[in-house]
């Protein structure tokens, strides 16, 4: 070391002799800004809590009273059904579109591209209204040969109920977004995997199902979790076609008694938060399942053990900090 180096300790002696290793004390980096942030957040939180307790407009007694109201509960069922079915359509169709998009056949890949172009390029609200008014466009739907005989005909209004319109509108729109997510996942799989599968005599479909898709899942699942959580909330748009999902139920109740608006919006928000929290937990487990074989996951313990280990480490940290007087 040169003489010009800034002395490490306050000791003024120019040549500070290095103490023995066990006598050295590590001083962690201080983060003064963190404490400013803590103070600001604490202040804001205190203001919010103060308002929640003191401001009578929240009307907590009504929140409690309507929390398990039967209209709210059946609204939740509708929200969950819509989210589940729309995501099912979205994922299945999205994966099919992604595979089509990568097809060597230009007609097939262009069709997939055009689908995404159309459904991503128009608002989902418009699509919902469109499906809802499908009957104006085609009052009957039939299966048959164009310009030839028809085999069966349905009345559109009985076929496309508001619920079906909601599922179609949300699901078909979602498929466009899912196709991009699935495509990114498929592209993330190493070309060597396609070749290894082919060299073993596996056909394209078998290789896709057994080798490529399971690996793509690792990349597909996190954004799909986001999409599902997003769908849970986007599905509230179905109130424009008269469906009583969670938001719809809340709205129906307070439309008869306007003073209930705030408490019922709070009820709906709390339920949405509960559902998204459960979904996030589910996503965590799915990610683990499809992360199999990567170094990171093979060395991990089960989630329970991990949590325990984390808590233990934390307690260790805390006691260390306490000992250090932080």
């Amino acid at each position: 070391m040169t003489q010009k180096a800034v002395p490490l300790s306050k000791d003024p002696t120019p040549r500070d002799p290095m103490p023995a290793a066990e006598d050295l004390v590590v001083v962690p980096v201080r983060h003064p800004l963190r404490w400013v942030a803590v103070a600001v957040v604490a202040l804001l939180a205190a203001m919010l809590i103060h308002s929640l307790i003191v401001n009578p407009a929240w009307q907590w007694s009504y929140v409690q009273g309507y929390f398990t109201d039967h209209q709210i509960l059946s609204g939740i069922v509708v929200t969950l059904e819509l989210t589940g079915l729309a995501m099912l359509i979205g994922i299945v169709l999205g994966v099919i579109l992604a595979v089509m998009r990568m097809s060597p056949n230009p007609v097939v890949s262009t069709t997939a591209w055009a689908y995404a172009w159309f459904f991503r390029g128009t608002p989902v609200l418009v699509q919902l209204l469109f499906w809802y008014s499908f009957a104006y466009l085609f009052s009957n739907l039939s299966i048959g040969i164009p310009f030839g005989p028809t085999f069966h005909t349905w009345d559109t209004n009985s076929l496309i109920t508001p619920f079906v319109a909601g599922v179609l509108g949300l699901g078909l729109n979602e498929a466009a977004y899912m196709s991009e997510i699935a495509r990114a996942g498929l592209l993330s799989v190493n070309a060597g995997q396609h070749e290894a599968a082919a060299a073993l005599g596996m056909g394209r479909t078998l290789a896709l199902r057994r080798v490529i898709l399971p690996q793509a899942m690792r990349v597909i699942i996190p954004p799909t979790g986001n999409e599902t959580i997003s769908m849970l909330k986007t599905s509230s748009l179905v109130i424009v076609i008269g469906l009583n999902d969670l938001t719809g139920a809340a709205q129906t109740i307070y439309s008869q008694a306007t003073f209930l608006q705030i408490p019922l919006l709070v009820v709906a928000s709390i339920w949405y938060l509960i559902m998204t929290t459960i979904l996030s937990i589910g996503q965590y487990f799915l990610e683990r399942r499809f992360g199999r074989g990567t170094r990171r996951t093979t060395q991990q313990q089960r989630p329970g053990q991990r949590l325990l280990a984390k808590l233990r480490a934390q307690r260790h940290d805390d006691s260390a900090q306490a000992a250090a007087g932080v």
């Binding site: 060597g192 082919a198 060299a199 073993l200 005599g201 080798v211 074989g293 990567t294 093979t298």
Partner: protein, 254 residues
């Protein structure tokens, strides 16, 4: 004399305007080991990949086990094969890649039984027993539950060899099977390959391992810039190369 298992006559292959194989002719008889040596970019991998139709040839004839690769002949017409027919042919040809290409989401055992059960319809129990025997053969008994990421490169490559053997191929293709390995792991993979050769497996091996080629190969070809410059018994080619290009290459690698 039996029919050759691999027969190439003037095989040509281009990528865009670059001709990578400019008329390769060679043959491999059943039970023989052919080593292909040559500088980087000479077309070794490309040729090997043509043999199981991972690349499509642009000219010449390439036959495996008496069948044209990628085409069905009817009279004087050649029909391009459908995906499923190509897949069917590949069942008889095992391939080992430079980068192993094991399926990372499957355990060693799952890697080994996937193709036999799903492609050939072998009953699962039988496939598992055969896989155990193969793992023993490559010296990896007891690692069946491991995932590829938990194995060393040498172990992964031995699993990859076992996986290819699980399809009971007539021909094994090796595309530089040891060039992605740390030097101390090369030996264990070459040993497995030597045993395989002793057992009578027909093999085509693209390699930079001259010692292995000298010891195991029945036939050796030296490729450069897409042509076979020289071929013969490995001892003769290595000890007494006839062409300047072979001499130049060997002086660098030996």
């Amino acid at each position: 004399m039996s029919e050759p298992l691999v027969l190439a006559e003037g095989v040509r292959k281009s990528f865009g305007s670059v001709e990578v194989l400019c008329g390769i002719s060679l043959k491999v008889d059943p039970g023989q080991v052919l080593c292909i040596i040559g500088p980087s970019g000479s077309g070794k991998s490309t040729f090997i990949r043509c043999v199981n139709h991972l690349e499509k040839i642009d000219g010449g004839r390439l036959l495996v086990d008496g069948h044209l690769v990628g085409y069905r002949r009817a009279g004087n017409k050649l029909h391009e094969m459908r995906e499923s027919e190509i897949a069917k042919r590949r069942e008889d040809v095992g391939m080992v890649f430079q980068h192993f290409n094991l399926f990372p989401h499957m355990t060693v055992m799952q890697n080994l039984i996937e193709a036999p059960t799903k492609v050939k319809g072998v009953p699962k129990q039988q496939a598992i027993e055969e896989a155990r025997a193969l793992l023993k053969q490559v010296g990896l008994s007891g690692r069946e539950k491991a995932y590829p990421a938990e194995l060393s490169g040498g172990q992964q490559q031995r699993v990859a060899i076992a996986r290819a053997l699980a399809m009971k191929p007539k021909l094994m293709l090796f595309d530089e099977p040891t060039s992605a390995l740390d030097p101390e792991l090369v030996g264990e993979v070459l040993d497995v390959m030597k045993e395989l050769a002793k057992g009578g497996m027909t093999m085509v091996v693209g390699t930079h391992e001259m010692g292995f080629a000298r010891e195991v190969a029945d036939e050796m070809v030296f490729m450069d810039a897409g042509v076979v410059v020289e071929s013969g018994k490995p001892r003769e080619v290595l000890a007494n190369p006839q062409h300047e290009r072979t001499k130049a290459f060997l002086s660098k690698v030996l």
